[in-house]
Symmetry: C2
Subunit: 455 residues, 2 copies
């Protein structure tokens, strides 16, 4: 108690003393060591790498397990990726689609978070090399998700804006707004136009939603913001290599999305790829060129596995091959869930779609299996994916949905989309703030977070 | 109308056509040129540099004047500085204390915003050199505000965290949270402590409010977030060179603030200056040293005038000498308002306090005088400062206020502080979101925006 006395004397204040006395007891007791590494324990240690949908769900589902649950992530918050595009297009503030891990797990006694980047896994000694030193594990779960796939095109990687992280979204928002500020400064029509023209690559949900949101900025927000510009010259191009949009969904969904985008004045090019981009000119597979200062890249993702796994466990799309229990091929106590995991079954020869649902469902199933493993039970349950369907929104009152086999669009799909995304958001305050944002935007036609925030 | 037809053809879509037809007409007409510089006009041009409290109020008050009102700022939003400290301490999201200029002035016909940094004023040719080229003015209003004053101490400037802009606040928030994450990694008590100890320099409102907010993080948030750390070792020091806190306010206010801070376990050192800081160790004027990884600098500001003004017009504190009409000494059509303006009167020999009130009142008065000048009227009204008093908050239910001569503290002052700041916020949505934030924080004792957001 030596600290205690010195501290109290130092404070020379009774109330401070009492209050700190309380603090001291309640927390000195709760930890075996005042040093700050993960406390040693007789309990098995489950280390989860990555706090996306899969890792988060897994950690939550382990709340009642007699184990140390350690979550490692290189950022300190969970990101609700489906709404990133609304941050990028000034519809939502970044803070309302993220939630700090320590806040989410504040009350979970067996949980430890560490802000760390994992450099390498050493299966032979059950240890990770990380930016904060070596971390031992009994069970390792890789939930590192996916990263943008540029398919080896260095120029695209250099000049395009991706849409995978909160930083990407803020970067794109800055880029869009700065382009319009810049458009006010240049003297030639051609230059002005190239600042006002946007090329979105990839006809998946991200591409469709970004293109739609840009069109709403053009019709409802920028005319007011940039009176001196002739918005007549703002072109939005959506480029998709395949013959249709939203390949993950039904033909009806793809066709409706296409119809809505055309109604909103987006120029959609199907069966068209991107050959090159130098920051000024986009060259398409058709040979056609488009002058645009902004190219948004939503054309693909690939798994981002850890270094140190057996080579045979990395398969197509840079994903990790796992069995029906999410166990990594060739390892006994290493598992993978979510986008990075590729579970090749009869129904899913190329693994599950790289979206939130399979990740979260795998998290729950793996949590139950880990409980059994720790209790030395053998009746593990194989993963069964329950596909609830997919949704994408294009604009106000315009969305497409395939849910439980029902295919529908328009206002109904849009309402369902809003409701489902609102309910899926982490944290009541986030749900409330996003709801208010959407409500006010719906009636005001405004997107109010038009901030260029940068160092 | 050549664009129009090609465009319609290009879109090949009737609804897009119609809607763009509408856009085209409503906006093509509203501007004389499709080129994007500030339109030429026979109206006099009033150029305002800086969109802080003074510049914003001035531009708003000029809404009904037959002139071009041009606002230049190097960021695209107005910042409500009094609440920066709550962003820095995770209490508020950054987006709720800022408002994009273009949103604020969307409906003001005579208003033009340009994202630009002003490099130099050329009074002889009524022109500014800026990052976006030369800009002509008939009347120039300098509202460039103040910047952090390190009093020439290079080491402080290098290692300390200032509290003047939104970026500063986000930087400080990152710094505080990263320090605690780092505290979890180091092995020696001494190191751990230096990450958990904070030195706040300057006993003005900023310093008092930051120190108070840090104490609330210590008592209500970090115990939950950092179970493995012994918060008993988190020290908060507030260093003030003068014999009392809150020099701008009454003795009662200063004494109450001191009392509250001590109750909250903040170690306040009066009559003490800071000699040096190397990022690890703070050396005080008393010779005492404190090991701390974080030093928050709220010890002073200085004016940030423009280059190119007559030397005699720059006075004490790097401010611009103005007469009772806010006209800059030695210039006829150049004015200064707010922190950067130093109006030396009998009551204010050193100019007005560098806070929001005088800035906004000067903005209103100058706007009225400019209207008269444009109408060639001579009955200009000299500026009279109406001091409503001052306020500072220390913690929940703990604030001090001197309002209209009444001096009071505690819950009452705190409630008034909340109300006044809420009402002064720009934009209804901001007010609403801040209100909800404060409400939920009050009952949950939580500060929910604990995000480390960085490139």
């Amino acid at each position: 108690m030596i600290y205690f006395c010195t501290f109290a004397k130092k404070k020379e204040n009774l109330r401070a003393y009492n209050y700190l006395h309380f603090i001291h007891h309640s927390f000195f007791m709760s930890t075996h060591t005042t040093l700050a590494r993960i406390p040693d324990s007789s309990l098995p240690r489950i280390v989860i790498v990555g706090g996306g949908f899969g890792g988060l769900q897994l950690a939550k589902s382990l709340h009642n397990v007699a184990a140390q649950v350690v979550l490692l992530d290189k950022i300190n918050y969970h990101t609700f990726q489906p709404l990133l595009y609304q941050v990028a297009t000034s519809g939502l503030e970044s803070s309302s689609i993220v939630a700090p891990f320590r806040k989410l797990f504040g009350s979970q006694k067996n949980f430890y978070f560490r802000l760390a980047e994992v450099q390498q896994v050493h299966p032979e000694k059950n240890e990770l090399t990380t930016s904060i030193g070596a971390i031992r594990y009994d069970y390792l779960i890789i939930a590192t998700g996916a990263t943008t796939n540029y398919y080896g095109m260095a120029d695209i990687e250099k000049y395009a804006v991706p849409m995978k992280s909160l930083n990407d979204a803020i970067l794109l928002r800055n880029h869009i707004l700065e382009s319009f500020e810049a458009a006010l400064q240049v003297e030639s029509h051609e230059k002005t136009n190239s600042y006002m023209d946007f090329v979105v690559v990839g006809g998946g949900p991200t591409g469709v939603e970004v293109a739609g949101a840009l069109s709403e900025l053009r019709s409802h927000v920028f005319p007011q913001d940039y009176k001196e510009l002739d918005l007549f010259h703002m072109d939005i191009h959506l480029i998709e290599a395949s013959p249709r949009l939203l390949n993950g969904m039904s033909d009806e969904a793809g066709n409706n999305a296409l119809k809505y985008l055309k109604q909103m004045g987006v120029e959609v090019k199907l069966n068209t790829g991107v050959k090159s981009y130098d920051g000024e000119t986009v060259t398409l597979s058709t040979g056609e060129t488009i002058k645009a200062k902004t190219l948004v890249w939503g054309a693909g993702v690939k798994g981002s596995p850890l270094n140190g796994l057996k080579t045979e466990s990395i398969v197509r799309g840079n994903r990790i091959k796992v069995d029906e229990y999410n166990k990594v091929a060739g390892h006994d106590n290493i598992f993978a869930v979510g986008d990075v995991a590729c579970m090749q079954t009869a129904e899913t020869p190329n693994g599950h779609p790289m979206v939130a649902q399979p990740a979260m469902q795998q998290g729950v199933n793996l949590a139950n299996n880990l409980k059994k493993m720790i209790r030395k039970e053998t009746n593990l349950r194989p993963f069964k994916y329950f596909d609830m369907g997919g949704m994408a929104t294009v604009g106000r009152n315009k969305a497409v949905a395939d849910i439980f086999g029902f295919k529908f669009g328009g206002f109904m799909a849009w309402a369902v989309w809003l409701f489902v995304h609102l309910m899926s958001l982490v944290g009541f305050k986030n749900r409330f703030f996003v709801f208010i944002n959407w409500l006010s935007s719906y009636f005001s036609y405004d997107k109010s977070n038009r901030l260029i925030i940068k160092k």
